[in-house]
Amino acid sequence: MRTLLTMLGIVIGVAAVILTVAVGYGAQARIREQVLSLGTNLLVITAGAATQAGVSLGAQTFNRLTVADADKLSREGTTFSGVSPVTMTRAQIVGGVGNWRAPINGVSTAYQTIREWPMTAGTFFGDDDLRARRKVAVLGKTVADNLFPGVDPVGQEVRLRNEPFTIVGVLSAKGQTAGGADQDDVILVPYTTAQARLSGTTFIGQIIASATSAADIPAAQEEIRAILRESHRLTADELDDFTVRNQSDLAQAAQSTTQVMSALLAAIASISLVVGGIGIMNIMLVSVTERTREIGIRLAVGARGSDVLTQFLAESVAMSLLGGLFGLALGFVGAALLGRLTGWSTATPPGAVAVAVAFSAAVGVFFGWYPARKAARLDPIEALRHD
């Protein structure tokens, strides 16, 4: 009973570590997945990073990306394909069963290919829609579900800024971004239409492009830089007035955040492991005192100090190891349960199991050492006299 209670400390400690590692690892796996869901080899060009008198004004100070830039990129690009401008506005969407507010992105037909985003209903708008500035829209899953619950929205109409748009298609669900934004809460319209009817400017917020392969990403970034510098007529001593990012930058940023978070959580969890270890030390000290006579008997019949040391060390390691295994099981069950209840993805790296087992054994050795050494150094005469 006493042993069980002591083991509980280790059980909880190991379970807590496994649980936090599982949640942290799961989060990282999810981020990787989501970054991939943005579209492989995605390159995002944003305007900005102007410098005035040596002072950087940061990204998107000036909105200097234009449709001309996008056209030039798609004409001249060799290491990347599928260039699409992205204009961004927000407006109230009226239609179906009510109204909804979502970002309205003006994009080109290449957008769907770049983002690798399949349709669930209808089709994406075509080049002729783009040229004719037709008022057509493709709905994200979230928008479709909210405005047209249980109804096929294709062919229906929505009103954006009082302009009627015909719905030609619905995108499949893509889920959340690494930052937690719902990618499906969006309406896509031809950028030409968006500029003419919704935003009223010729500037565009973003250009997205797709590198021809993952290996080409750095080359594509350089090529985009060169083309845009030429297009913006920047001299050699002027800095870029735009930024080209790839998804691995995004992934790294997001991942380093979760790494820090999970490291922090694991550190907190391992404190409980240390507390569990102190519990083991306590119980072992009590055990050595209670079993002094037994130690005396063993010494009298010829046990060396090292034999006694090994025996007590083995007991504390067995205790913590058993606790560690129980904790491991508990951690796995807890992680699975947590995953089911909260919808967080949890995953336990296989190495964590080995580390947890090794660590709990190490706790046993570390905290069992002092009591075991105390037992080994007992004087046999004193120990035999003990009652």
């Binding site: 063993r298 009298a300 010829g302 060396r304 100090g305 046999p380 005469i381």
Partner: protein
């Protein structure tokens, strides 16, 4: 030193052994120069009042303690300068202990208790430790109790398990510290009969006791007082414990009548 080689066959050879304990400021001279030689096959009763130094002497003979000065040869080997590990190995190979309080491991079967010293053997001279333990239990007549734990055995039976444990390594010397101290007279006679029987088979025994009756079962009586040997003589009218046992049994059967 030269005489050591002259009598290599002596089981115990102790010369001018002293032991001084320091407890705080006071020095206790537990042994003040003891000389003692024990030949193989002897059965010695070591007597003395408490504080006479007999426990100290027993601890030194038993390699549980080392003398402050003087020399000690056990089985021809000088042992008074050995370290803790060497003493432990020596206890394991050469000595068997029987205590007043039995000192068996609780929640451990009789057989496993007897097997215990064999598990600490480093020479690898024992083969099947289970079989040896079983044989030792047979020798004390407790083979049928091999799976019983100490709390399921009577005092006399527990002491016999302890004796089996002392015998299992085939030691040169068996030391018994008040072996009958916790037993009634019938069980005491039983234990002493077993000791005499073992002694007849050639086992050298040193029995510490304060009971003059128990001392009468030995062959030789040594008495200590104030850290010195004051008496060392053969037992004149040695009792046979088997006979006393028979008599005790007779009185017991007579008593209720």
């Amino acid at each position: 030193m030269s005489d050591a080689a002259a009598t290599p066959q002596a089981v115990i050879r102790i010369e001018r052994v002293t032991k001084i304990y320091h407890t705080g400021q006071t020095r206790v001279r537990a042994l003040r120069g003891v000389d003692l030689t024990v030949e193989p096959g002897e059965m010695i009763a070591l007597m003395g009042a408490s504080g006479s130094g007999k426990s100290t002497l027993l601890n030194i003979i038993g390699c549980l303690d080392t003398p402050t000065s003087g020399s000690y040869w056990l089985d021809g080997r000088r042992v008074d300068q050995l370290d803790r590990n060497q003493l432990a190995d020596l206890r394991n190979r050469k000595l068997g202990f029987v205590f007043q309080g039995f000192n068996l491991l609780s929640r451990t079967s009789a057989l496993e208790n007897v097997e215990l010293p064999l598990l600490y053997d480093r020479s690898g001279r024992h083969g099947d430790t289970r079989a040896l333990a079983s044989q030792a239990l047979q020798r004390v007549g407790l083979d049928d109790r091999r799976d019983h734990e100490p709390n399921e055995l009577s005092g006399g039976q527990q002491q016999r398990v302890a004796i089996a444990r002392a015998l299992v390594t085939q030691p040169s010397l068996v030391l018994a510290d008040e072996p009958t101290g916790n037993l009634d007279s019938a069980a005491s006679a039983e234990i002493m009969a077993l000791f005499q029987n073992l002694n007849d088979q050639g086992i050298t025994l040193v029995v510490v006791t304060h009971d003059p009756d128990v001392a009468q079962y030995a062959k030789r009586l040594i008495e200590l007082r104030d850290g010195r040997v004051i008496r060392d003589q053969p037992v004149s009218q040695r009792h046979r414990a088997t006979q006393d046992r028979r008599e005790l049994r007779d009185t017991e059967t007579l008593l209720p009548v």
